[in-house]
Symmetry: C2
C-alpha cells in the first residue's frame, strides 16, 4: 500500500507556476506583487453532509475546488494558489486518480497551482484554502450595497437544490429533467470572469451557496440596507419553470444552496454595461430588484404583493 508521501507525490504534486516552493516542504512559498492584496478563502466539505459517499470522484474534485473559486468570483479576485487538506477512509487509487483529474482540470482552466496541504486517514473530508490577489481596495465586499442599487444575479437559480431534492425523492422529476439539472449540482461553474469584470462596476457581491434569500440577506445586513425582489424576475431554467408551482421547486428557487451563481448590486447607471458584459461573457445576468433604505428583504409577486417567505437559507447547524 502506498505511503502518505507516495500518495502526495503521485496525485497531488505538479509543477506549480509563480511559486517559489510548492508541495513537499514544511510550508509553501509564493511571491505577491506590490500594490496587491492577498485574498484567502477556505471551505470544508464533509461526506454525508455536502456529498454522498458514492458520488463521482471526478465531479467531487471539481466541486470541492469550485466552491472556493466561487468565493474569489464574489470578491472580483484572481485565484492563484490552493492548499488541500484531505481525510480519506482508505487508499483507493482509482478514486484518487479521478478526484485529482477533476480537481486539476478546473485548477488548470483558471491558472491555479496546488502548493500544499495535508493528507490523513478519516471520514472523507476536503478542506481547501485558496489564495489569490486583487488590486488594493478593489475587492467586491458584501458591505458595499447602496440604496437605489439594482440587485442582479447570474445564471439561473434553484437548479442544484431541485436536483438534490429529486435525488432525495422529494419531487418526481423525469429522468430527462434530472439529467438536465445534475451538472448544476455536481459541476458548478465558478463565475470568475464575471466577478473579475464587475470590479469597479458593482458595489457589493456574494456567491449564492446557501440560497438567494440567505446570501442576499448577508449583503443587506453587512451594508445596513434592505431590498425588494420581484419573484417573477428570478431567472429559472426550463425544468425549474415547469415545476415552479411545486413547493419544493419554489423553495429551491428562493432558498436552495449550491447554485454558486453571483448575486451583486450596482448603480442603475451601470445597467446597460452589465447587460453587455453578460452577453460578451456568455453568462446570463438578470436584474431582480433593488436596494431599499427600509431594512429587510421583501419578495413581491406578479401583482406587487409581498410573498410570505418562510424559506430560509441553509444553516449547517439549524
Amino acid at each position: 500500500m502506498p505511503s502518505e508521501f507516495e500518495l502526495i507525490a503521485r496525485y497531488f504534486t505538479r509543477p506549480a507556476r509563480r511559486t517559489v516552493l510548492g508541495v513537499g516542504d514544511d510550508a509553501a512559498l509564493v511571491r505577491v506583487g506590490a500594490g496587491k492584496e492577498l485574498v484567502a478563502a477556505a471551505d470544508m466539505l464533509v461526506v454525508g453532509r455536502h456529498f454522498f459517499p458514492d458520488d463521482d470522484p471526478e465531479s467531487l474534485g471539481h466541486k470541492a475546488l469550485a466552491v472556493n473559486l466561487s468565493d474569489f468570483a464574489a470578491m472580483g479576485a484572481v485565484p492563484r494558489w490552493a492548499l488541500l487538506s484531505i481525510a480519506l477512509p482508505e487508499v483507493d487509487e482509482a478514486w484518487l486518480a479521478a478526484f485529482t483529474r477533476g480537481l486539476f482540470a478546473l485548477a488548470d482552466a483558471h491558472g491555479v497551482a496546488l502548493i500544499g496541504g495535508d493528507t490523513t486517514r478519516g471520514p472523507l473530508t476536503f478542506a481547501f484554502t485558496v489564495l489569490g490577489e486583487i488590486e488594493r481596495g478593489a475587492a467586491l465586499r458584501r458591505s458595499g450595497a447602496r440604496v437605489g442599487d439594482e440587485v442582479w444575479v447570474s445564471g439561473t437559480l434553484g437548479d442544484a437544490a431541485l436536483a438534490l431534492a429529486a435525488l432525495n425523492r422529494a419531487v418526481p422529476l423525469s429522468p430527462g429533467e434530472l439529467a438536465q439539472l445534475l451538472p448544476r449540482l455536481h459541476r458548478p461553474v465558478p463565475r470568475l470572469a464575471l466577478g473579475r469584470r464587475l470590479v469597479g462596476v458593482a458595489h457589493a457581491a456574494i456567491d449564492i451557496s446557501d440560497g438567494l434569500l440567505a446570501d442576499l440577506g448577508h449583503v443587506l445586513e453587512a451594508s445596513g440596507v434592505g431590498a425588494e425582489i420581484q419573484l417573477t424576475a428570478l431567472p429559472v431554467s426550463p425544468v425549474l419553470a415547469a415545476w415552479q408551482t411545486h413547493a419544493v421547486a419554489r423553495r429551491a428557487l428562493l432558498a436552495g444552496g449550491d447554485d454558486y451563481e453571483l448575486c451583486f448590486t450596482a448603480p442603475r447607471s451601470a445597467h446597460e454595461a452589465i447587460v453587455r458584459l453578460g452577453r460578451r461573457l456568455g453568462v446570463p445576468v438578470t436584474a431582480i430588484g433593488c436596494i431599499t433604505r427600509a431594512p429587510g428583504l421583501v419578495v413581491l409577486d406578479g401583482q406587487g404583493r409581498p410573498v410570505d417567505c418562510e424559506e430560509k437559507g441553509f444553516d449547517h447547524f439549524a
Copy 2:
C-alpha cells in the same frame, strides 16, 4: 440553537491586526510587504486519529494551531494569519469556548490573526491553514543540508509518543511520570523563536511530527545526502531516560511523532553560535550527528556500532 453565523460571530471573530478584511466576507484580504515571500502551511486533525473525542478542548485548540506554527518554525518564517475550517458533530458552546480560548491564547502569543475559514457539521475535524512571511530566499528548506553539517535537535525527543503509549497502556508509567509527559503531548510548543534565529545559520530544517528517523529522512532525501546519528547523544527527558531500555520508549525516541521539536543541520563553524542561541532563548539544542556523503540514515550505539532500526516514522496510511 445558535446558527452557523452566530457561532462564527461569537467564537471565531476577533479584531484582526494587519488585515484589510477578516472573517465575514467571501474571502479575507491581507497585505504582504515588498521583498517578502508569502508562506502557507496546512494541517488537518481528525478525531480518533490525532486526538480522542474527550480530550480537553482548550488543549485541542492550542495543539491544532501549534502543529501549523511548528511548520513555520521549521521554515524560519513569521506566521501572521490563520484560516480554520472545522467540522463539529454538534454545537457544544462550553466546548467551543474552551477550544477557542486555547486557540486564541497561542495565536495572541505569536501575533497570529484568525482571518477566515468555514464551519460545518461532521465528525470533529480541524483544518488549519496558516499564512505568514519571510524575506525572499531566506526560508530554511528541507533540501539545504550539506555534507559535513552537524545535525541538531531542539528540546527532548520521544516524550509525546511515550505519553501516548502510556495512555494506551503499552508502557506502565507511574501517574507522576505520565503527568510530567502529558504537556508534551497536549500542549506542544512551536519553536518559532529558535527557527527564526536559525535563518542564515542553519542549512536545512524540519519539525519532528512523524518521528526523528522519518523527518530527518525527509531532509536527507530532499538534500541528496546521508547522516550518522549517535544514539547516546539524543536528548531525553528524565522520564524517558528512566524507561530507555523499554522497547516502547526506544521506539518513541527514534520514531515517535508529535514532539514538534526542530531538527536542523548547520555547518560546524556555527556550533558555538547555536549553543549560545539555545542558551539565550532558553531552548535546549543538541548536536546529535553529522551529514554524510553516503546516502541513508545510520544510527550508532555507544560503541560506534550501527543500531538495527526497524522503527519507522508514522505514516497515516501504513
